[in-house]
Each structure stands twice: as structure tokens, then as C-alpha cells.
Amino acid sequence: MKQYQAIIIALLTAVFFVFFFFWPLLWVLRGAVVLDGHFTFSILRAALLNPVYAEGLLNSLAMASATTVIVIIIGLPLAALSARCTFPGKHLFSSLILVPLILPPFVGAIGIRQILGQYGMLNAILVRVGLCDWANVFDWLGSGRFFAVALTEALHLYPIFYLNAAAALSNVDPSMEEAAASMGLSAFGRFRRITIPLIAPGIFAGGALVFIWSFTELGTPLIFDYNRLTAVQIFDGLKDIGSNPLPYALVAIMLIVVALIYGAGKLLFSRWQYAVIQKGTQARTLTPLRGIPLVAALLVFTFIFALAVLPHIGVILTSVTLAWYKTILPSKITFDHYLNALGHNLIVPSIRNSLFYSSLAAVIDVALGFMIAIVVERTKLRWRGWLDATAMLPLAVPGIVIAFGYIGMSQPGAIFAALNPANNPTLLLIIAYSVRRLPYVVRAASAGLQQMPAAFEEAGASVGASPARVTWKITLPLIGANLLAGGLLAFSFAMLEVSDSLMLAQKQVHYPITKALYELFQLLGDGRYLAAAFGVWAMAFLFVTILGINRLIGRKLGNIFQI
């Protein structure tokens, strides 16, 4: 790619980021450094010197580290099993891999509390088998909260790492490992010295997403009432009736920390990027598992999956519950919640809106993500690293902060007044969704490009093909699956996006699914059951959509990152 073309692409993406990420963000974050019209660092200082906030930041870092480590411990062996072996049921597990990620907001918490609550399913089992009685039940939600949060987040997020690692493993040229084996290197030695360095881009891509996600995660700590984390402190501060400026200072600190950690991680992993790696041109022979290894593999997959979908089971059971208290399963069930929820006048328009907003957001993400990845991986622009890091920052900004920014920048008299969500939030919602979910596509596209030798494109260019033709005929087909996987994640998460939806969609006619879910949840009495019923519908719809896309491209989901 020629220098001027790279600059144009970089500028286009930079302009998008400046207008739709930094502008709204700065509009809000000026509250961290401007007080009564005067510039000051005192608010940042007050935030940094408050021991509770400092501890919150350290806890958040520890939480993100612990979650990432657990995710790697869970995800890497599973990915290795999936990429290197074949066993009955493998395709089923591959198809179900995204399910833990598809958990609707609001009702997910109810699902977890219904299972882990003091008079919930788990304690009911323990009482039934005689391990405790109701007067001395275990408080699963209140004990060992740090590790409980880390484990729950890890079980929710491991599919992101698994997909990246499995793709990276599949793309490793088996001849490299065979050569090492022929030199007498043990299996563990080969994995440590050959495989791990070769799959480093995939590990980094998945690990970075998981780290930043868990660093800024709000929902899970709130379920366990673990409050000394920066994300929770920001949320608390934003809800404060005293219009407290400290949360803005905390957001600024969080952004800086994420950028620094991402940069450091990138630097560390760049040592392991081998530009001359040949993609696996020869097919790897998968080892069929039999006997004890087969049983062990099935047990591991089933156990991890069952743990990860416990909240989903909780939501499904809640959706048919009339009474569920001190029993393993609901003691009285009803299907009326489905009739009342799906028959509500909010539902049909919200489905239509969500599909429209999320599909367009995913398309924008794929286009932007591909362009950013090309600039970062295929050009020598000096500031491409900044572009890469910037693309990750939306993960670190609480949704409610950026939503306030969008509202501010679209007020009458402001330059984006035409986008005012009070009139019609469609454009702003699509932009908001695409900005917030862009990191997934950028990482997926970058991982694809890193593992694809530039020599393929150079060969195309050397025979006279224009850059556009090279991109169309060579690059896109080779990383198409990566882009599709990233786009799929972007679409799924956009369908479940909360903060932007709650604040920007102000009229019923514009509500997406999550806002309709929120409105059902707010109804007194049976509201949570109705929300659970609609949540189950949303989960089923997303799952079927993903399966449908799989079928459309003729591959299994677990192999989607493979080229």
C-alpha cells in the first residue's frame, strides 16, 4: 500500500474517532479538569489521593489480571484440544461456544442470584443432600467476593480468548513443530518454545480484550456487591445527586491506565511477532481421541460449559417461575410470562429497531476495523501504534459517560445538533454501538493480518494488481473469516448494549431490545419475570442468528477464525 493511501485511510478513521469518540468524551471529561469555569488539576489530585479510589484502581488491576489468568487457564487447553484433536461432540461444543457471552442485561443478575442466593438452587441441593441446613446455608454471593467476581467474569469471557487462541493455533504451520520434534524437543518444549511464540498474536488479541473488559466490568461486581473497583466507583459517582466531579477524574485515570497497559502489552508481545511465519499451507492431521483422553476431553468441555451457562439456566428457569424459593427448581411454573412479555406493545418495534441499529453498526465496524488493521499491520506510518491503541479505548470508557457525551454534543446550537436523539436517535445509536464495539473487529482483523504473510499481497502487487484489487482479491478473502467473526461479536454485543440504549432512545418508537427489557424489568411485581421471558427470547434469537450465519458460510463457529 502506498504511503498516501495509508495516510488517507488513517485520517478517515482518525476523523471518525475524533468526532464520535474523543469529542463526546472530552465534552464530559472536561468536568475532571474544569471547575466553575477554571482549569484545575485539583479534582484529579483529590481522586488520586483518596485511598479508597487508589485501592479501587489497584483492585481493578488485580481483578483484570486474575480474570485474564483464569481465562487463559480455561481457554488455552480447550483451544488446543479443539485445534489439535477430533472427538465426538466437538462440533456441538464449537457451535455453543458463544453462548456464555450472550447474556441479556438486568435479568442475567437475577439468574445468578436465583442460583447462588442463600435460598437458591445451589444451597437447596446442599440441604437436600444433607451437607447443611437452612439455618446455616452458605452465602455464595457474599464470601470470597474477589475470586467469585474473577471466576464469574472468566466464565463469561473465556469464549473471546478461546476463539482467538483456537484461530491462532489452527494457523500455525505444523511443519515448524514437526521440525522441532525431529530435533528431539519434547512435547511440552515444543509447545513452550515453538507454539506459544507462534500464537502470540492470538493470545494477545484475546488476552487484551479480556483484560480491558474485566478491568472496566460493572455488572458482575454489582451482582456480588464488590464495590471497591474503579468501574463501580465511577458508576456510583455518576449516580450521586451532588453532581460529583470525581467520576470524570476516575474515567480519565482509567483511560490513561488502559492505554499504558495496552501499550506495554503490545511492546511485550511484539518480541514474539515473526513476520516471516508461513501460514499452515499443509493441513494438520487432527488426532482422534479415544478411551480415557476422550472421556477427559468431554468432561472438561462439559464442565466448563455447564458452569458458564449457569446464569443462563437461571434466567430460563426464572422466565417460567411463579414460585422458586428454597427449592432446587421452581416449585410452581407458568408460561404466562412469555405471553405477557412477548405480547407487550414495546416488543415488536424494539426487535425491529435493534436489528436495524446493530446490523448497520456491525457493518461500520467491519469496514473501519479492516481499515485500521491494514494501517497498523501493513504500513510503516509512524503513529500507527497510536491508532491501534486508540481503537481499544472505547472498551475502557463506561457506556453512560459516552452516552452523556453524545447527548451534550447534539444539543441545539452544537455542531451535531442535527443528530439530537430527542428527535431521532437512530444515527447516534448506530454510531454509538459501532464505536463501543469496534475493538472486537480491530483485534480480529489484526490477528488475521498478523498471521497472514505480507508476501501474498506483495506477490499480487508485483504482477501489477492495484492496491484495491489486491485487497479485494487477496487480503479480504484470506481474513474474511476473521472479519466475520469480529463482526458477529460486534453485532451480538450491540444487540445487548445497555447505557447508550437507555439514554439515547428516549421515545418508545425508537427503543431497542435492551431498553424494552429495562422497561419490563421496571414494572413492579412480575416485572422481573417478564424481563426474564423476553431475555430468553433475545438469547434464543441471538443464538439462532449465529448458527444461521455459520450455516451461511458453511463453517462451524469454533473454526470461524481459521483461514
Binding site: R113, D236, A414, L524, F541, T545
Partner: protein
């Protein structure tokens, strides 16, 4: 996929027929869909009957009250910059009195003229201007309370039984019992003016109790009495906070957690408590979930409606306010579904503000005829001068004393109770109960109140208090453990002494006495 998509389409309700020209009305509201649905339906009918035209209400839903407050701030700022008279919204409906008073103070709201149109409503027998220490409408005609709510205690009888608590909590101080440790669900006063008001009422209640104990009345109360009452109240809040599992801004979370047994008791808004209790009874045929309003320990506050400055549809907005405060509008809040004048789809279970609705004629159709807010609350006279200047300090104090250092607070409280309870650890309790100088009742508290008016000074004050309380709780925990160790050591020494005395008694004294008796008795007998 098609089948999944088809289900909601098949189940969707038929579209409502829309008449031709409809007058617009724009309302921003934190009220849920049920309130919006019932009020829109009833107002459109009322408007058509009285003015012959239909109304098209454009509801703006942008989250809870705190989100609306920020939205109004930024929108009015932008409108002022752009030279616009308003923000294109007519009414702010719902939220607490605190939020509406704040918007009025910021000049975001405007007089709505109800005072001139319906002076007959603004009398003590219909809508009092103040009750139980709360203001029910703005003297400058900018906002009016529409319905009432108060804070009470909900509890789960099963959880109480399993924790060995035989008498259910009926006063705030009952929640300070250590047997509730980690089993209290509390509402967060930093997130809602109404919750902060509830804590202020708790403080007033304790001050009154202190005065009663000293045989005094509000009229002859001395500063020292008030200071002692304040101290006791803050200590009570601290102990309840130490028992708390969490502080939440989610009104529904407390009642659901208590109903499901994840908390034994909690502080909740009255209609959430009543609603959850009824839902459990209806769905599960169980009476385990109960709600009580602490006698003389709670105030009732209003959910107001305000006319926003520069309202584009002023006439319709005035009519909506009139409707909300008319008998027709008031009946929607608590009349049972299907009863004359009541809602048709959702039972709202809120209490109307109009006092004249609490009569037999209307009570027979109400969902909560026993609630009677004007009879069951307000039995002591709120003394605004005692605590209202410190409204923001109360919020800052609870945050720095209970919420931010919650882990340290709980560790200290547990250590004290593990060591035998407050009576057994006097030194630890002195440290545990200490207040920073700026939080003591008197001039210092006034200075702290002044500091909360400036964001930076408030942040500095809160930082200093957080550090103070954390250190106190850590020291208190250490002292309690030390006192416990000393007690154990004393016990050991005493036991050793008792053992030594036993040895002395049985090995030396008893044989000697026996010997003496053995020799002396025969001597005597002979």
C-alpha cells in the same frame, strides 16, 4: 429463526386507533411504563371530554432521576448558549422533592399558574403545603407533589427465624442488632434525595428520643442535647451500616433480595415493599415477606411535577398538571384495576397526595386502604432548624462513614462482636464511634455544610473523613482483638488461679481439715 421472530409479531396487541389532529405535550419522566400508560390513557380521555381535542404525549425516557437531572442541566446550558427559551420539553413528572427543588433553584422550572387556577386545592384538608417535615408544593408555584411515598422496613420471616430473631424489626434501631450482620439491604442516600431525607428523619427521631430521655421538649432543647442526640443518631446509622450487605440505588433490589432471603431485612420505599409482599403471597401463597413503616421514624415525601422553563406547549402542560392534581387524576394512583376511575391495565399502588381521597367513599376501591399516610406518620413535628442545614453533610457523612470504608467498618464491627459485643470492648467502641471534628454537631458542622457547597472543598472534606473513618475502624478492630486477647488471658490467669486454689484446697486444706476433724471429733466425743 423465522419462527422465533414470528412469535412476538403474532402476540402483539392491536394498534390503537388514532384520531386526526392531536395536541402535542412533551414530558420527561423517570416513572415506569405502567404509570405512563395509565396517565396517558386517562388524560387523553379527560382532555377530550373537557376540551374536545385529543392529546399526543411524547414521553422522554432517559433513565432514572439522576440521569434526568444531568440531562436537564446540560440541555439548559446548551439552550442558554444557543439563545433558546427552553429545551423543547414541557414537564418533568416524577422523581423526588429534592430533585424538583434543585431544578427550581437552578431556574430550570417556571410557575405553572395552578395557584391562581385552583387555590381551593391548596388548603390543609386537600393538599397541605407541608406535612411530616416535608414540603408538598413549591411556594413559588413551580412544582406540586402528585403522590406520596415513604421509607419503611421490609423483612423475611424465614430469615429472621433462621437467625434466631423472634420479634420482627419495627423501628430503625432494630436493624442495628448484630444478628442482622451482613443481612441488611440498605438504600443509598447519595443517590436519592428522598433516601437522604429518610436518614434525616431517623436522626430527628433519635434527637427527640434523647430529649424525651432527658425530660425535655423541642422548645427547651439545649445545644448539648441536640449534639448528644445527633451523636447517638449517627452511631445508630453506623451500626446499621455495619450490618448492611450493601447500599443500593435500585429501589427494586432491596425488596427482591429480602423476598428471596438474600437479605433478612431492608430499607425500602413503601409501595415496593407492599407490592413485593403481595406478589409473593399471590404467586407462592407465602406470607414470609412483610413490610412495616417505623412508627414516628419515617416521613412521607412527594413525587412532584414541574413545568419546565420555555415549555413549548404550555397550555396542554397546565392542563396535565391540573389533571394530575384533580380527583380524576389522583384516583389513578391507588384505585384497583377496573374500579370506577381507576387504572385499566396496571395497579400502580402509589398513594395520592390529596387528603380528601382518604375517605370511605374512595378507600373502598383502593388497593391499600390501610396505608393512610396522613394518619400513620407525622406524629412528631419536624424541626427544620435542627438538621435541614446539614442535609448535604448527612449524605457526605454516610458515604465516608459507611459506604466508602464499608469493608473496614464491617471488620471492626465483627471484631467487636466477636470479642463479646460493645459492652465488652469499651476502648474499641470509643475509637469505633469517634467522629471527625467537622462532623460534630455545632459550629463545626456548619463549616462542613458550607464546604459541601463547593465541589472541590467537598471532595477534600470527604477524602479527609474517609481516611479518618478507615483509620478509626482499623484501630477499633485491633483494639477489640487486643481486648479480646486480654480478656482471654485474664480468663486463663483466673482459671489457673482457680486451678491453683483447687489444688491448694483439695491437696492441702482439705487433708489438714480432715486430719484436724479426725483428731478433734473423737476428742470431743470422748
Amino acid at each position: 429463526m423465522l419462527l422465533l421472530l414470528a412469535v412476538p409479531f403474532l402476540l402483539r396487541p392491536g394498534k390503537e386507533a388514532k384520531s386526526g389532529a392531536r395536541l402535542p405535550l412533551v414530558i420527561v419522566s423517570p416513572h415506569n411504563e405502567a404509570v405512563q400508560y395509565e396517565f396517558e390513557r386517562a388524560f387523553r380521555r379527560w382532555h377530550a371530554a373537557n376540551f374536545g381535542q385529543d392529546i399526543d404525549i411524547d414521553w422522554r425516557n432517559i433513565g432514572g432521576t439522576s440521569e434526568i437531572a444531568r440531562y436537564l442541566d446540560s440541555s439548559f446550558q446548551a439552550a442558554e448558549k444557543a439563545g433558546l427559551p427552553g429545551i423543547g420539553i414541557d414537564l418533568f413528572f416524577g422523581g423526588g422533592e429534592y430533585d424538583h427543588a434543585l431544578q427550581a433553584k437552578k431556574n430550570h422550572t417556571t410557575p405553572c399558574g395552578l395557584r391562581e387556577r385552583h387555590p381551593e386545592w391548596l388548603v390543609p384538608d386537600i393538599i397541605p403545603s407541608r406535612f411530616s417535615g416535608e414540603t408538598f408544593y413549591d411556594r413559588d408555584d413551580r412544582w406540586y407533589g402528585c403522590c406520596l411515598s415513604g421509607f419503611g422496613i421490609c423483612y423475611n420471616e424465614d430469615s429472621l427465624k433462621y437467625r434466631g430473631i423472634s420479634s420482627p424489626p419495627h423501628q430503625w434501631q432494630d436493624l442495628a442488632d448484630y444478628r442482622f450482620f451482613e443481612h441488611i439491604a440498605l438504600a443509598d442516600p447519595t443517590k436519592s434525595g428522598s433516601i437522604n431525607k429518610a436518614f434525616e428523619m431517623l436522626i430527628q427521631q433519635q434527637i427527640f428520643a434523647q430529649l424525651n430521655a432527658r425530660g425535655k421538649t423541642a422548645e427547651n432543647a439545649q445545644p448539648a442535647d441536640l449534639a448528644e442526640g445527633w451523636r447517638r443518631a449517627i452511631d445508630l446509622i453506623r451500626r446499621i451500616g455495619a450490618n448492611a450487605k450493601y447500599f443500593t440505588d435500585s429501589a427494586g433490589k432491596v425488596t427482591v433480595d429480602v423476598a428471596q432471603g438474600n437479605a433478612a431485612a431492608g430499607m425500602c420505599i413503601d409501595f415496593y415493599g407492599r407490592f413485593e409482599s403481595e406478589t409473593v403471597e399471590r404467586n407462592e401463597s407465602s406470607a414470609r415477606m412483610k413490610y412495616v413503616m417505623p412508627e414516628n421514624g419515617s416521613s412521607i415525601s412527594v413525587d412532584p411535577i414541574s413545568m419546565l422553563r420555555g415549555a413549548p406547549n404550555r397550555k396542554q402542560a397546565e392542563r396535565f398538571i391540573d389533571f394530575c392534581l384533580s380527583v380524576d387524576g389522583q384516583l389513578i394512583w391507588n384505585t384497583r384495576v377496573g374500579q370506577p376511575g381507576g387504572p385499566i391495565r396496571y395497579s400502580l399502588r402509589r398513594l395520592p397526595v390529596r387528603r380528601d381521597l382518604y375517605t370511605a367513599k374512595y378507600l373502598e376501591n383502593m388497593s391499600d386502604p390501610q396505608a393512610l399516610p396522613y394518619q400513620n406518620t407525622g406524629r412528631f413535628t419536624y424541626q427544620a432548624g435542627w438538621t435541614s442545614p446539614f442535609f448535604n453533610v448527612i449524605r457526605a457523612l454516610i458515604k465516608t462513614m459507611c459506604i466508602d470504608p464499608h469493608d473496614e467498618l464491617q471488620h471492626a464491627w465483627k471484631a467487636i462482636n466477636d470479642a463479646g459485643g460493645p459492652a465488652a470492648c469499651p476502648q474499641a467502641m470509643v475509637v469505633f464511634s469517634a467522629l471527625p471534628p467537622g462532623a460534630e454537631y455545632g459550629p463545626a458542622l456548619g463549616q462542613s455544610a458550607a464546604a459541601t457547597a463547593n465541589k472541590l472543598e467537598e471532595a477534600e472534606l470527604m477524602r479527609a473523613w474517609t481516611i479518618f473513618f478507615r483509620n478509626q475502624y482499623r484501630k477499633a478492630a485491633e483494639l477489640a482483638r487486643e481486648e479480646s486477647r486480654q480478656k482471654a488471658q485474664r480468663h486463663k490467669v483466673m482459671k489457673k488461679a482457680r486451678d491453683n486454689w483447687s489444688v491448694l484446697f483439695f491437696c492441702h486444706i482439705v487433708p489438714v481439715l480432715t486430719l484436724c476433724l479426725w483428731n478433734y471429733v473423737p476428742l470431743c466425743l470422748s
